[in-house]
Amino acid sequence: MESRWTWRTLAAPGVAWLTLFFLVAFYAVVCVAFGNTNTLNQPVPFWNPLDWNVGYVLQVLENIWNGEEYLTVFLRTFAFVLISIALCLLVGYPVAYYAARHTGKWRGLILLLLVLPFWINYLMRMLAWINLLSPDGWGTKVLHYTSIDQLFIHLGLLSTEGGWLEGQPMTVILALVYGYIPFLILPLYAALDRIDQRHIEAARDLGGSPFSAFRRVTLPLSMPGILAGVVLISLPMFGDYYTNDLVSASTSTSMTGNQIDLLTRQGAQKTEGAVLTLLLALVLLVFMLYYLRQTRRAGDSASRDE
């Protein structure tokens, strides 16, 4: 019909843009990380791989190897992300399940309400919690009247009464959950929605209880969706710095994202910042590639139906 170059030409501007402003940008990070600084503390990237200077990279790696701050903060970040994702799954899976399997007339509305937080500015959602958890905020008052704050103090999750926003790891974790759970619920919903109801009915017909039908049919079938969703939200969570800055602003809950932000944007150590960014991207690369493989499989199957 048309030459095979038609479509490549159409795609060319987009490809050029992404190459220039995405791939080359990453190359810039690598070259700054393997570069040097000048006496004005400005980063000097080395563009030729043969010139690369491993001094700063080794310095950061040494810091990590010796268990100093880059490692401790990364472990803390990892713990935050792990706990947050566990909580997101705990709340998100049942909600996604209900939305997917519900066949009533409210389905559209429920879906709408689940999608809504997706489109509210993340910072506004955190601002809402800063208002609520400030010392005279409604949230603090409610938590005080129901004595939940006493419970948390007792469990060691809160340091002082009313100090929700003063450097509490628990507040950061709950804020991360609040912030990212919509991004988990939607993929989970999509995955659960695709499960054919007849599989479940078959399990029930064969004499299984609702719970065993869930455990042996629904859960395994939704596992790819769970994994995809978990990977999808863990990526931005690892690079999150603003959540901590907003609900805690304390050095004791700082995350790897805060370190990178301090080095590159708030300070003048861009070379070290580039190294740390590179290392973070490498760690997350595994997750990114996994997710890409999953999406491509789904995309391929969709286009094969064409």
Binding site: R4, W7, R8, L10, A11, G14, V15, W17, L18, T19, F21, F22, L23, A25, A28, V29, V32, P43, P45, P94, V95, Y98, H102, L113, L114, L116, P117, W119, I120, L123, M124, R125, A128, W129, N131, L132, D136, W138, L165, P187, A190, R194, P210, L235, F238, G239, Y242, L246, G257, I260, T264, K270, T277, L280, L292, T295, R296, A302, S303, E306
Partner: protein
């Protein structure tokens, strides 16, 4: 207790949990919006209804605060620039990718999906270093902010438009080709009109994405005239601002939601039956 245990339907705790989740999810924001209309200076004590923080108060309101209005203006300008550049680029890329046969399509596809999975901080640092070391003619500032936003928004357009391309199939195009229409005619008069709902929907989504964007916009910000609403929210949230900040956030919230509602309605009206499948594809994003 037996009410909770419903043997033939779902366990009743599910709707309860979902209801509780939805309330927990939406109510804090609703309260923040509520206080934008507070009559007093407090953001925690309700003192009556008033529009003073939007336009009334001669010193404190959004309309009279030059910093806030400048930020709002800049946010909208950036969003418009972003849409104008991203949508054509993304549509062309989607068409090209979808029909691309042969070598290279896999890598291009991966390249297109990469911004979706890259943490924004990594992108922010990468773009900052790019504009400081390679494109220092442009430097950081509005141009850089626009370029950064386009870069991660393209992928959304491509995914949406591709989904639509899949569902409309190639019959109409083939019919037009059989009738002797040349390529550009087929594209302009058959494919693009069929894609129109997806194009408009993705324009709406890119607009909303741009307004809500934070990390990339902050990293590439130059002087104070490149502040956006998101950046202002970040900078002032922990201070002691007045409800004017809530008002500013509410304005952008309303803008975003209206845009998305319009995009959704356009899509629904023209997309018809294919809509549900595409919604699922979107959810997969």
């Amino acid at each position: 207790m037996s009410w909770l245990r419903n043997p033939w339907g779902q366990p009743r705790f599910l709707p309860l949990l979902t209801g509780a989740y939805i309330l927990w999810s939406i109510i804090p924001v609703a309260i923040a919006v509520l206080f934008a209309f507070n009559d007093g200076r407090s953001r925690t004590t309700w003192q009556g209804f008033s529009m003073r923080w939007f336009t009334g108060d001669p010193t404190g309101s959004v309309a009279h605060n030059p910093e806030y209005t400048a930020a709002l203006e800049h946010t909208l300008i950036l969003a418009l620039i972003c849409v104008v550049i991203t949508v054509p680029l993304g549509v062309a890329l989607a068409l090209g990718l979808q029909r691309w046969r042969g070598r290279g399509s896999g890598s291009v596809n991966t390249l297109m999906l990469l911004p979706l999975v890259t943490p924004e901080l990594v992108m922010g640092v990468a773009l900052l270093l790019l504009f400081l070391n390679i494109f220092n003619g442009w430097g950081i500032g509005t141009t850089a902010q626009a370029i950064g936003q386009v870069t991660f928004a393209i992928s959304y357009v491509v995914v949406i438009v591709r989904g639509r391309l899949v569902s409309i199939g190639r019959e109409y195009e083939e019919a037009a080709a059989d009738l002797g229409a040349p390529l550009h005619g087929r594209l302009l008069r058959v494919v693009l009109p069929l894609l129109a709902p997806a194009i408009l929907a993705s324009a709406g989504i890119v607009f909303a994405l741009s307004i809500d964007d934070f990390v990339v916009t902050q990293y590439l910000a130059g002087g104070s005239d490149t502040n956006t609403v998101s950046m202002l929210l970040y900078a002032t949230a922990r201070g002691a601002p007045t409800p004017a900040l809530n008002a500013l956030a509410t304005i952008t919230l309303v803008l975003t939601l209206v845009t998305l509602a319009l995009a959704y309605l356009v899509y629904r009206k023209f997309a018809g039956a294919g809509g549900a499948a595409e919604a699922a594809t979107l959810g997969e994003m």
